[in-house]
């Protein structure tokens, strides 16, 4: 609704806007100098961000490459060990004269390591490594194909027992004479098995790992997971452009309070290293400002006190100040003759929200631990925002400041996490995280809450 000014107000407006005063030229020079200084600071700040991001990417890539190489090596070893076993199974059990010849001539040491049957392995004194025998026999016991082969071998039907794709060296099943390079290849394979088993005994002792081909799927076998998390502590700060207190962006006496938030999340792992997630949860930003002997301005006409806070300034009327019954001392504030009071008070700012995070994470596994580097956006809806003022000697006063804030906004999330499996389907996750508002949540000034917290979660793998 368009309001009307009275004649006096209209005349005042017309008169005040009728003539322009120009700023002095030196103001531009001062402003430009300040802007250039600000540009330089921003540039240096950006450099740090770029360096930090580059470092993070390098670490991620390096770790990913390292993990990838290890996985490839392990898979190669696992594959080789199975194939080698089968090849040697053929060699050992073959009734064909040519294979007997091969054993005697070409593989004097290898043939002494009987890899075919468990009985033979256990009783063989020439086996170099006990874990080699155990692992390889385990492979054969667990591997269905290997079992089939063994059964059929017992029936003496070698050719039928060996599908072509399972035999690396087809010549082994044939009656042709083995060549020296092929024999060398077999020796190399077995040497590789022994070497790998010595270096990574833990990886290959897992039946599941060998059966599935990946040693890292021991405890994280499925792709979908749900998590229930608690955030028992966080350091909350409210960044603001309001100049108060020390004149900085933060009041020096405003501290973040410990809060407890609850998070529920659903994750889906796509591929080996990408995990997408969505969830919902609560967020409670809470800061406390405790001041002693603070000068508070007085509005004598209105009998009001004016307080400054990071969220907004606010007035407290004299009528709202009631003596604290628990305080024995009688407090009287003289609003008539004073322009300011010196007060001891505590101001608690609290912003409660519901959050919906959408995240993407780079995940990798080291031994039994799964690590993640996560980033994403959080839709944030403010459900409650208030300030509670406790002036010494008076009852506390609560101000609802939600109307001054933007109800719907977005935050950015950066999180790193580590998971430890505590059962077949459940893992425990610890994940430090940092969130900050992408835009000001205040309607009138710049106000960006940010928090550093530690999320503890139980994660269930379906």
């Amino acid at each position: 609704m368009k309001r009307e000014l009275d004649p006096f107000e209209s005349k005042l407006k017309e008169k005040l806007q009728g003539k322009a005063s120009f700023p002095e030229d030196i103001l531009w020079k001062r402003l430009n100098d300040e802007l250039l200084r600000s540009d330089q600071q921003l540039a240096s700040k950006n450099r740090y961000w770029i360096l930090g991001a580059a470092l993070l990417v390098l670490i991620s890539l390096g770790t990913g490459y390292f993990i990838g190489v290890r996985q490839e090596t392990s898979r190669h070893i696992a594959g080789n060990s199975v194939h080698s076993g089968r090849k040697r199974t053929l060699s050992q059990n073959s009734v064909l004269p040519s294979n007997q010849g091969l054993q005697k001539v070409a593989l004097p040491q290898v043939e002494s390591v009987s890899i075919v049957e468990s009985k033979q392995l256990n009783g063989n004194s020439f086996v170099h490594e006990n874990d080699v025998n155990r692992t390889l026999s385990t492979v054969q016991n667990q591997d269905l194909l290997s079992t089939n082969i063994r059964t059929q071998l017992n029936q003496g039907d070698i050719n039928a027992a060996l599908p072509k794709e399972l035999v690396i060296n087809q010549n082994l099943t044939q009656s042709s004479v083995e060549t020296q390079p092929q024999i060398n290849h077999l020796e190399d394979d077995f040497t590789l098995v022994k070497l790998a088993l010595r270096n990574t005994p833990l990886l290959l002792t897992s039946k599941v790992a060998l059966a599935t081909g990946s040693p890292y799927k021991k405890h994280f076998p499925k792709l979908l997971s749900a998590s229930l998390g608690f955030e028992p502590t966080s350091i909350n700060r409210v960044q603001t452009d309001r100049t108060y207190g020390t004149g900085t962006t933060y009041a020096s006496n405003e501290k973040g309070l410990t809060t407890t938030n609850v998070k529920l999340g659903f994750q889906a792992q796509l591929g080996r290293h990408l995990e997408l997630g969505v969830g919902c949860g609560t967020s409670n930003y809470s800061t406390q400002q405790t001041v002693q002997d603070q000068s508070v301005s007085v509005n004598q006409l209105e009998h009001q006190l004016n307080f400054e806070s990071s969220i907004s300034s606010f007035d407290i009327h004299e009528d709202d100040l009631h003596d604290d019954p628990e305080d024995q001392e009688d407090h009287e504030l003289n609003f008539i003759d004073s322009t300011k009071f010196h007060l001891n008070y505590t101001l608690v700012n609290s912003i409660k929200s519901l959050q919906v995070p959408v995240t993407a994470a780079y995940v990798f596994q080291l031994n039994n631990l799964k690590f993640s580097i996560k980033s994403g956006f959080i839709y944030n809806r403010i459900t409650n925002a208030d300030q509670v003022l406790n002036i010494v000697g008076f009852n506390s006063i609560r101000n609802d400041v939600q109307a001054q804030l933007v109800s719907n906004c977005f935050y950015h999330l950066i999180q790193i996490g580590a998971e430890y499996p505590i059962s077949k389907h459940v893992s425990l996750m610890l994940a430090p995280k940092y969130t900050y508002a992408l835009k000001s949540i205040s309607r009138s000034n710049i106000l960006r809450p940010n928090a550093l917290g530690l999320e503890c979660a139980l994660k269930f793998y379906f």
Binding site: K11, L16, F22, E302, T339, V401
Partner: protein
């Protein structure tokens, strides 16, 4: 007209890219208007210059956040007004409110009393208003805010806003009548 809009948007884009010349152009376009805003909210020229510089820095730093460049004129004014209000609040903590003996029959004052008053004198009178009354007066009379909007902006209730405006007008009328009386005595 459309071309002018495009030129203006290009100017804003150059400012976002930290082009010094573009910044100067934008400054030249708005400096006079915004300096007058600062003068009305401050108590003297020195304070106005401080507000002016702070506000312009905010404007240039927050330009990338401006989603609709066509809204720039309204946006820049809002930044200046908010900066001025914050500055007044900060300085208001450490100074006492002015005690002024005001007349009680001010409703009889005719608008014609403003005819002979110089712009500078009127500006000085506005600058000398008590801080909160000055903010409410400027927001209501010059910027066109309603009392409800002022109450939300300042975190006060509507009644308080009306009361401040009432006080501001009362003080201004008193000063205007005093000034007129002095002029009359000099002339006669």
């Amino acid at each position: 007209m459309h071309k002018e809009v495009q030129i203006f948007e290009a100017l804003i884009d150059r400012c976002i890219q930290r082009d010094e010349k573009a910044r100067k152009e934008l400054y030249d376009l708005f400096s006079a208007q915004m300096f007058n805003v600062c003068l009305r909210y401050s108590k003297n020229r020195s304070q106005a210059e401080d507000i002016f510089q702070d506000a312009f820095i905010k404007v240039f730093e927050n330009l990338p956040k401006l989603s609709n460049k066509n809204q720039f004129p309204g946006w820049i004014k809002r930044v200046f007004v908010n900066t001025a209000i914050d500055n007044i609040r900060l300085n208001n903590k450490y100074e006492s409110n002015e005690h002024l003996h005001v007349i009680e029959h001010f409703s009889d004052v005719e608008p014609s009393v403003l005819d002979d008053i110089a712009h500078e004198d009127l500006l000085t009178m506005v600058q000398e208003l008590p801080p909160r009354a000055k903010i409410v007066f400027n927001l209501y009379v010059i910027e066109g805010y309603s009392h409800k909007e002022i109450a939300e902006e300042l975190g006060i209730n509507v009644g308080t806003s009306k009361s401040h405006l009432f006080d501001a007008k009362k003080i201004l009328k008193t000063k205007l009548l005093t000034k007129e009386a002095k002029l009359f005595s000099i002339v006669s």
